[in-house]
Amino acid sequence: MTNPHVAFENVEKSYDGLSYAVRHLDLEIRRGEFLTLLGPSGSGKTTTLMMLAGFETPTAGTIRMNGHPIDHLPPHRRELGIVFQSYALFPHMTVGENIAFPLSVRRRPRAEIEARVKRALATVRLEGYADRRPAQLSGGQQQRVALARAMVFEPQLVLMDEPLGALDKKLREHMQIELKRLHAEVGLTVVYVTHDQGEALTMSDRVAVFNNGMLQQVDTPAALYENPANAFVAEFIGDNNLLAATVEANGGGFCAARLAGGTEIRARVRHPAEPGEAVVLSLRPEHIRLGGGDGNILVGTVNDAIYYGDHVRLLVTGPDSGEIVVKLPGRVATPPPGSAVTLAFRAEDCLALPQPVQ
């Protein structure tokens, strides 16, 4: 990346000088991409967004936009649109006045404001709503007004702080598609904050995963899912079985690791794991088959079988591991609870991961 849109350079934020909301953050945001900051609450993702918006000041490090440091710029001169979780539509103004606000504070001519407000309303499919009050709109409509207001002055960068958090599931999925469409149409850079990994995976070009103020991994959704950098990412993105193990030998991209119960597992490895190092084995539920065969074998007893329609989940407890979740296609005969089963999985589908970055 020769010319990132935004670059965080070793940014740090501490409120009390003892604990850190964000630590050692190096992150480049590419021009035109949809980047999601993903993490549990308190992980530093919102603080990162607020530092970019200018409402929080980093205690160390530099944020650059288009190559220039923006640390000294107050929020109103950063030229970026923000969609807040609460939408923050001004209740004493109509929808039209809300959308016109960023243009009128920029002293644009009246005719231009009218035309652009009209266009913005059309973009979010709310033609004819200009004279309504925000309180008269549904949650989804308010959301779209907030979006139109954040984009009408054509900022190059739009920040969204859990904008879909207040919507119900169906509307949320609809708005996810709308947001993707808008992003593709307008071609701006979007930085999106959410704690919902499903939302992050479906919408983003890239996802930055945060935990405890540390950036854990930045990658495409597929790469995060297939090749999580550490145990935290592996657990946070999608369903996963995590098994503690100790490395016995390492070579050729694979390692041999021994579970606490003594079973040896052959797993893919992407970091230089030394023999004796504690690792976490990541094993996706959908990669486990019933019955013997090639590759790794685990034995256990079925605790429960949960029917999901398109698939069945088996909860299996083995002597080597805690509970392991197995995802079976719905048509496969399900062993009854209490029966002994053998679980098989390929070495390629099992990934030995280092401990999370602290």
Partner: protein
């Protein structure tokens, strides 16, 4: 029941007192009735009046009637009391005899005063409260310049209250804004400080200002010591003292409604306005202030209404020319015993308050006005 007994009944009683007129009816029933019917002054009426004067003097109702008539036309009290005493010895049978007792019985003004006071209802007190009266011909005219005081008092009451309200708003708005922006753990103690003056009796607070503001007081001494003033400035027993003390006393009533409204404004609004490119001052004016308006309206209304009824502070700190309407209500009740005029002044005050309230409700909307 409580509401009726403790609130509505006294209010109704006050309003009734401001229009009731029964002293003359009780003392001179037949004369009053005849004059009220529009009878002309003839010998029969003069004789009736003479009898009734004597009788009412005997049964003790004359004094109240004489005082009542004296409010309207100066000199009526000595006229009635004196005539009654002399008529008791020597009854008069016609107008000539009555005039012989006191020549003023020939004046139409005197009879008109009795007719106006014939009751049972009168607008006399209400008219007096705004410096109007009916002349002998029955027309409503302003009272002579040298007797007019209440219009000026009303005007003074309103202007003083307006100045105090504006001062409270100017001082209270930043305080409320500051406290509303703090986390709850730090807002609590500060709010307690705002309420602290309520723990001190108002008399003590007012007296404290006298101590601070007097010529040898803390403020004047400090200013002189610092060389800002050459000699002490009169700060107390004038309008400045009234402004300062009333603003201090009423400030919490401004801050609390402001705070309660401001606290309900999420900080996201200001952030949104800033992120959309508004300079901080513009964001404040266009986004924050309109949402704080219900608090400004409620606080100002509360402060103003409390201010126009203020008694003790101006009475202690103000000079003779700074007394507000409440002082004159008290004066009429305790010093002159003119309950009717006191009630009428109270009614004017009540009417002014109601008009203000309606005006505000129109401007802001009662739903938008939150007092707590």
């Amino acid at each position: 029941m409580f509401l009726v007994a403790l609130f509505l009944y006294p209010l109704a009683e006050m309003l009734w007192k401001s229009v009731a007129d029964r002293e003359v009816r009780e003392a001179l029933p037949q004369t009053a009735a005849a004059l009220a019917r529009g009878a002309t002054v003839d010998d029969a009426l003069c004789a009736t009046l003479a009898q009734e004067l004597v009788r009412s003097r005997a049964d003790g109702t004359l004094a109240a009637a004489a005082r009542r008539l004296n409010y309207d036309v100066g000199g009526m009290r000595p006229l009635l009391i004196g005539s009654a005493r002399r008529l008791a010895a020597d009854p008069a049978r016609d107008c000539a005899a009555l005039a012989a007792v006191d020549p003023r019985w020939n004046e139409e003004e005197v009879w008109a005063a009795i007719r106006r006071a014939a009751g049972p209802l009168t607008e006399f007190y209400l008219l007096s409260a705004v410096d109007l009266h009916r002349n002998a011909a029955g027309e409503i005219v302003p009272v002579p310049e040298n007797e007019a005081i209440y219009r000026e008092v009303l005007w003074r009451t309103f202007t003083t209250s307006a100045v105090v309200t504006i001062a409270c708003l100017a001082l209270g708005f930043p305080v409320a804004y500051l406290i509303a922006g703090l986390p709850a753990s730090r807002a609590g103690p500060l709010l307690a400080l705002v309420l602290l003056p309520f723990w001190t009796p108002i008399l003590v607070r007012t007296a404290a200002w006298v101590v601070l503001l007097q010529n040898e007081g803390l403020i004047n001494s400090a200013l002189v010591a610092l060389g800002i003033l050459e000699r002490p400035v009169q700060l107390v027993y004038n309008r400045i003292g009234v402004y300062v003390a009333m603003t201090h006393v009423l400030l919490p009533f401004m801050i609390l409604p402001l705070y309660s409204v401001m606290r309900s404004i999420p900080p996201a609004y200001m952030r949104a306005a800033l992120s959309l490119g508004a300079r901080p001052a513009e964001a404040f004016l266009r986004v924050y202030l309109p949402q704080a308006m219900p608090g400004v309206a409620a606080g100002s209304l509360l402060t103003f209404i409390l201010a126009i009824g203020y008694y003790i502070t101006p009475a202690l700190i103000g000079g003779a020319g700074d007394q507000m309407i409440a002082y004159f209500i008290a004066f009429n009740v305790t010093d002159t015993g003119n309950w009717g005029l006191a009630a009428a002044l109270g009614a004017v005050l009540l009417a002014a308050t109601l008009v203000l309230y309606v005006l505000y409700a129109r401007l802001v909307g009662t739903r938008g006005m939150r007092l707590g």
